[in-house]
Symmetry: C2
């Protein structure tokens, strides 16, 4: 039997799904959209519960799209076929993988973070641009950061731009949102040494010791770090700034710090 | 005398200026717009020729805006007062510094690049997203990269998003656009050792020697590097990728490589 195809953007299911582009709707319903085949595959790998998939079969030409559809079938996720103009209403930007999934938000919390021995944890405080948060998650995935805590988030992890900029690694990296006060308590309980990126710090980041259990704290684009970190005994560190600008983009700062930590950990002399 | 205020977006000067949001217009007229007080201040510092400034005085509240206006006055750049809704038509995104300058494109070329002794040069090939190019320039400024060559650019340096993401450092870093073949010849003539970021490289970037005269080549988001670099004898280098994604964002890769080069140069033993 060929399934019916939704051909109207006024269809209640479509309107309800499209409303999840707004954070208020996401937070109220505890649901969000995942746009793109690779992102859906990573959501499946990360154990995200997918409720339904909106599929525009004529657009599903890529290998990634076929793999995502197979993954959805294996899990028994219901598919709803939609016309191309309806799909355009659900999909984000110019993505054309032909599949968008509606998912239930996972219960990620500090208690559910998985920490390795001597972990490197990243804390991102108050970052407002979803693209920056997503890029930081993508770099954290690559650099082997054990967990990312989004403290007092100005954006949510399930923003479509964050998911996209993360390439779906938001679903595979150990991550959660938390209040800054709870994040501070968590780091203390896990005996992590806290380094906080700060443009006025005396210590250069290459002088910091990232080889033991440590946390790297990054502040917001506009406001930097809250005072909580000073009170928590964080060691301020800075990147050399040799030019006319006085700061880097927060995702560039994250990349430099995460990879310096990895470099130190890989070149650490054997005890 | 209080100057006349332009109150219509249909004014020919406004329409002509707003058209510079399009690359085709920029390239044809060799002119571009600079949006924002800090960016204008850096354009002045970088010797960019400013033809006229469109000012919405009621919006010029920040110290940065006042400093930019003073800088424009010192240079004798004519001001045209515009109403707020007209300014919104010229300004990019949600910027509200109250001043946009119309500038003539500088004659930046390989021949005009200023190289220090044992320089570190960055080559960015085929990058398509202006925001990525701007972020790379911002990081190049901070890490003391001597010059940036935009090879076979998929975006131009004068794209409003590039200027913005660079925080105006596009005007203060030594930079030019060039064909890849010319960039290769330039690096050879200057006897720079070429390292090219490549996900499949054998050599890890921390094993590369960035302490002598060197170039770091970064490929496009989608297509990587052209074969020209292999033929030019570039040494492929890679960043460790420990997660599920197989690459970093190009601006994150740039940040890691530029700062590793700086780290090596600062910790180099005296000869």
């Amino acid at each position: 039997m060929i399934p019916d195809t939704i051909t109207s953007t006024a269809n209640p299911r479509i309107k309800s799904a499209a409303a999840l582009r707004e954070r208020r709707e996401r937070d109220a319903r505890r649901q969000f959209l995942i746009d793109g085949a690779r992102e859906i595959a990573r959501a499946i790998a990360g154990g995200i519960r997918l409720e339904v998939a909106y599929v525009c079969t004529p657009l599903c030409r890529s290998e990634d799209a076929q793999a995502a559809l197979e993954g959805l079938d294996v899990l028994g996720v219901p598919r709803i076929e939609v016309a191309e103009h309806v799909f355009a209403n659900l999909a984000f930007g110019d993505r054309a993988d032909g599949v968008v999934a509606l998912a239930t938000m996972p219960d990620w919390s500090l208690a559910s973070l998985e920490l390795s021995a001597s972990p490197l944890v990243a804390v991102v405080e108050g970052v407002e641009k979803p693209g920056n948060l997503g890029a930081i998650l993508r770099t954290a995935d690559a650099a082997g950061v054990a967990a990312v805590i989004v403290a007092d988030g100005g954006t949510d992890l399930f923003n479509p731009n964050c998911i996209r900029a993360s390439l779906g690694t938001v679903f595979t990296v150990s991550v959660c949102a938390a209040a800054t006060s709870d994040a501070v308590a968590f780091l203390a309980a896990n005996r992590l040494r806290i380094y906080a990126a700060h443009v006025d710090a005396e210590l250069e980041y290459t002088q910091a010791d990232f080889t033991a259990a440590a946390a790297i704290v990054l502040g917001s684009e506009a406001h930097g770090l809250s005072d909580s970190w000073k009170q928590a005994g964080a060691t301020p560190i800075r990147l050399p700034m040799l030019g006319v600008a006085d700061s880097l983009n927060v995702s560039a700062t994250a990349a430099v710090l995460f990879y310096e930590a990895l470099r130190q950990r890989r070149t650490k002399p054997l005890p």
